[in-house]
Point group: C2
Chain length 346, copies 2
């Protein structure tokens, strides 16, 4: 549980320590003293003291002048804003996300993959009074979240195998930890076009998610709807799944994804499921090359409510939505940092 200083990795030592120190700050312990940090990082407290002083000068932490303890600083929020800002998908999705939130009455999120986590990059809050913590920046495991499972399901086969070979951490009694079971679950997700996670990561919390594809057909993001389990009953979940997939497909279309023969059978779906390169995260800008033909989009499902979502008539073609820069998104599947548990509430 404690972050040991890492056994000699090639990086710059003091920067590695700075990063590790920042990551120690969690939701449970937003405020940490020098001694406490030193203990957790197995470093001398003088080292931490100097490190914190430097980070404070940069605005990455703030020191409580009374207690002398440190907490994370708002400069992180400023940089995070710029980091999130890169995802033009957010601009495209915002309208649809809010429409979905309004239609369902539940909180909706947009998530991408970052390393071996899903990370929420935008959200539309529930209109329902039950506040459940904000989530932008929150990291969710790939194997037990509605945001993560679609990202994993449509990843390259080798990547799925790698992830399923890792220990599937059980966060609740309902977390699926058996790789074989998870494999079938992922297959179901590829067929159905959406995922459900009922208290698999957090007790009392249920969510559904559907994949968003770019113009090449690669799954680059997930749209999710989440709320308290008591409110997201199975039938409501089923009806929301339809809206969810409509929203996600509409986003995919905005990104230039042309659905390949939408009425293909399930067999065709399953056989074509593994295409593409994997990581969707680094940038969601469009790579003009290679028009994608991939798995079928969500096959039409009976939308219980029959409601259509908001206008969502945002950008029409990827080319004029996305800025000039050209960006690819395949990168080696390098495990990066363990999954961390926290609830960032914004």
């Amino acid at each position: 549980m404690d972050a040991v200083p890492a056994p000699r990795s090639g990086g710059i030592q003091s920067v590695e320590r700075a990063v590790a120190a920042l990551k120690v700050f969690g939701e449970d312990e937003p405020e940490l003293g020098v001694t406490e940090l030193a203990r957790r990082l197995n470093l001398h407290k003088s080292t931490i003291s100097r490190l914190m002083a430097t980070l404070e000068a940069g605005g990455f932490v703030q020191q409580d002048p009374r207690t002398g303890r440190y907490r994370l600083g708002l400069q992180l929020a400023t940089l995070a804003g710029r980091a999130l800002n890169q995802y033009d998908l957010r601009d495209v999705a915002r309208g649809a996300l809010h429409s979905l939130a309004r239609a369902t009455g539940e909180t909706c999120n947009l998530a991408v993959r970052d390393g071996d986590d899903a990370v929420n990059i935008d959200q539309a809050l529930s209109t329902n009074p039950v506040k459940h913590l904000g989530w932008i920046g929150r990291r969710l495991p790939l194997h037990c979240s509605a945001a993560g499972k679609p990202l994993l399901a449509f990843a390259p086969r080798t990547d799925i195998e790698r992830v399923l070979a890792l220990p599937l951490v059980a966060y609740t009694p309902r977390t699926v930890t058996d790789p074989a079971t998870m494999w079938h679950e992922l297959e179901r997700i590829r067929v159905d076009g959406f995922a459900v996670a009922i208290e698999e990561f957090e007790p009392e919390l249920t969510a559904a998610g559907a994949p968003v594809r770019d113009h090449r057909g690669e799954v680059i993001a997930t749209v999710t709807v989440s709320g308290p389990t008591f409110r997201l009953t199975p039938d409501r979940l089923a009806s929301m799944a339809g809206m969810l997939r409509e929203t996600a497909d509409q986003l995919s279309a905005s990104l230039g994804y042309r659905a390949p023969s939408p009425r293909l059978g399930i067999a065709a779906v399953s056989s074509r499921a593994f295409v593409g390169s994997g990581y969707a995260s680094p940038s969601l800008r469009i790579d003009p090359a290679s028009a994608g033909v991939d798995t079928a989009p969500s096959r039409p499902v009976a939308t219980a409510t029959g409601r259509r979502l908001g206008p969502g008539k945002r950008g029409t073609l990827a080319a004029d939505i996305m800025p000039t820069r050209v960006q690819a998104d395949d990168r080696p599947a390098r495990p990066r940092g363990a999954h961390e548990e926290e609830r960032s509430t914004w």
Copy 2:
């Protein structure tokens, strides 16, 4: 414009460089190469290469595998979530903020002071279609933003003097750069209980802001309404100012602020304006000691629309809103980093 490596400040050199490197990434240039970074920081490119490799391992930056260039990583968003999470004020304010956004139809923000900037820590999006960039984490100058001016106006006199002694950067032709003029403007803000900024920081953008006080009467945050100038006409601004102040006062009340004889004259207001310790940012948790008596709250103003805001019946007393931890918020007024321009869109 370029960030020189800083002339020997006591901190850890490589960490300082890491921080500086991260801050170089701006909205205008979200993606930077090693050579470019090296040039800007006056460092050898090998140094930057190693630095970036280390930061990437920590998830603070991502490297584009094709171009080799770097951009900010989502780990920053994760940490930022935790940083923002500390501000319990956000939870208290969220409902009121959304109500205000609904009532005005414009985007509303909640900002606190961080160093010599105001930083947005929460927002409620406009229902109007004109999307104007998201703002959480965005830094705004104290002297030319509706978020910043109230924070400055109610700061300790010495702090105001210090800030006004600094060069007041002109971002637009309408930015007030004369300290004497600004001094009177701040006085007006203390009297009126709200600030207005019409294209003083960004062209085409107008905003109004009102101060939020904690139980001691210290101004710890600003509620702002902002939108395109063409939509925020003077009379609309005037009517919104009333709602704005209602919302801010209501938040102050939620924080335990008891308005001291609200019908005091202007003279009394002005003479009592300088109290308190300054920095409102480190934490907005309640210090149970010392019930504050300070400047008068917004004096009643004719609310043109007469509309009341949403229910806003959140927490009732500070004690049960705020978590257990006790926190003070006075810290030396140390200038920290120049103001940076960017538009974080989330």
